[in-house]
């Protein structure tokens, strides 16, 4: 097992591509996306009842390196500020295989 940072990002479906390209650009080892998430926050309610354009996405990724995490947060913050969303960071152990 290896200690790692577990990063969860929730954003509008419209920003998904941008965030994933960001993760790729920062050389994150991988990620998992759950497309059909709905939610409520400062900007009101968002569901996919009118199509995915109005739904959210849930992104889970991991990151071993503190500087990598810092880079992500730096790039992510203005997006979250502009269009809303959430980013949570917690600790986890990764099963090495």
């Amino acid at each position: 097992m290896q200690l790692t940072k577990r990063v969860e990002i929730i954003v509008s479906s419209l920003e998904l591509e941008e965030i994933l390209e960001m993760l790729d650009g920062l050389k994150f080892p991988g990620y998992t996306v759950i497309r059909d998430a709905s939610g409520k926050g400062d900007r009101g309610e968002f569901t996919n009842d009118l199509g995915r354009e109005f739904g959210n996405c849930y992104i889970l990724t991991t990151c071993q390196d503190v500087t990598q995490l810092d880079q992500l947060v730096t790039l992510l913050r203005p997006i979250l500020k502009r269009v809303g969303g959430l980013c949570l960071v917690s600790d986890a152990a990764l099963v090495i295989h």
Binding site: G44, G51, R52, P78
Partner: protein, 327 residues
């Protein structure tokens, strides 16, 4: 006015199922059409009307009348957001005013489809090229809306080095969003594939069309009713706007149609295009490009008020107005 026209509009399966959907929400039933099924219906409807429009356009050819109508469509789709912006500025800040203005400058394909099926029922003819007008009226408002924000919103940090304003992004969003692309694509495919393609697709694009519309309107009823409580936050000014501006735009549309001399059916469809407001394509574009505006305002106005008003009262009313205005 002839209230029989409204009644004969209401006593149709699509409108009745729209009411059923609304009723389900009001009495807290668990009736729902889970995602992505509504997407299936809306993709289908766009393909079916685009294909039919393209095929009919091929049959009729592009006449001067057609060209005139298409030009008028672009003009109206650009003017409406500008004049409504200044009305909305009475009460709202630039981003919200621009987003709502863009919403009302653009169109609702389902309102158009409901109007054309109303015409079918009354055996009033209309041209396939109106689908091209529909396609052309979706995009301009998105661009005008953004220009308005850029000009009038002082707070908008125009030279933010981190987020230079991406015009390419906006143009793509305006002209290549899925509904424009699918509609334009289907029109062109309808023209290219000719009578043989048309006949082979007929049972699919025509046969079950009315049924799919019925199902989709049931879902729209559910969605619209869910947004009605948002109207409380909207305030009377915007509630009034959601009904009066469509009426005004319809009258404008009818007058223009009269000047163009395109006949009763096409005139109604043009009026309906002017009167309708977008609740998917434009709101999605605004969410990305004018994030300071509040989506629950423009979505709920277009969806919970203008859309039901148009399909229930507006369509027959505009037809009556055409008669009164002597078209």
């Amino acid at each position: 006015m002839d209230s029989g026209l409204i009644l004969s509009n209401i006593l149709n399966p699509p409108i009745l199922f729209f009411f059923l959907g609304m009723l389900a929400v009001f009495c807290k039933s668990d009736l729902e059409i889970p995602a992505p099924l509504p997407k299936l219906f809306s993709l289908y409807l766009l393909v079916a009307i685009g294909f039919k429009g393209g095929y009919e356009l091929l049959e009729s050819g592009i006449t001067q009348q057609v060209a005139g109508t298409l030009l008028a469509s672009i003009v109206m789709a650009s003017l409406v957001p500008i004049y409504t912006f200044f009305i909305l500025r009475i009460r709202l800040d630039p981003p919200n005013a621009a987003a709502i203005a863009a919403t009302y400058g653009s169109i609702s394909a389902v309102t158009f489809i409901t109007a054309s099926s109303f015409l079918d029922q009354l055996h009033i003819s209309y041209g396939g090229y109106m689908v091209a007008a529909l396609a052309l009226m979706e995009s301009p408002a998105i661009i005008i809306g953004l220009i308005l924000v850029r000009i009038f919103d002082a707070k908008d940090d125009k030279d933010d080095p981190d987020h230079p304003f991406a015009w390419g992004e906006v143009l793509r969003e305006a002209f290549l969003n899925s509904s424009v692309l699918l509609l334009v694509g289907s029109v062109i495919i309808g023209m290219l594939s000719g009578p043989s393609g048309w006949h082979k697709l007929e049972p699919f694009t025509q046969g079950i069309f009315y049924g799919v519309l019925t199902f989709f309107l049931m879902d729209m009823g559910i969605i619209a009713a869910k947004r009605i409580r948002d109207l409380k936050k909207t305030g009377l000014f915007l509630i009034g706007f959601s009904v009066i501006v469509p009426l005004l735009n319809a009258v404008l549309g009818i007058v223009i149609a009269k000047l163009l001399g395109i006949g009763e059916g096409n005139g109604l469809l043009f009026a309906v295009l002017c009167a309708s407001a977008s609740y998917i394509a434009v709101p999605a574009a605004m969410r990305m490009t004018v994030p300071e505006a509040n989506p629950s305002l423009y979505v709920s106005m277009a969806l919970a008020l203008t859309f039901p008003f148009n399909i229930i009262v507006g369509i027959p009313l505009y037809l009556e107005l055409e008669k009164i205005l002597g078209l």
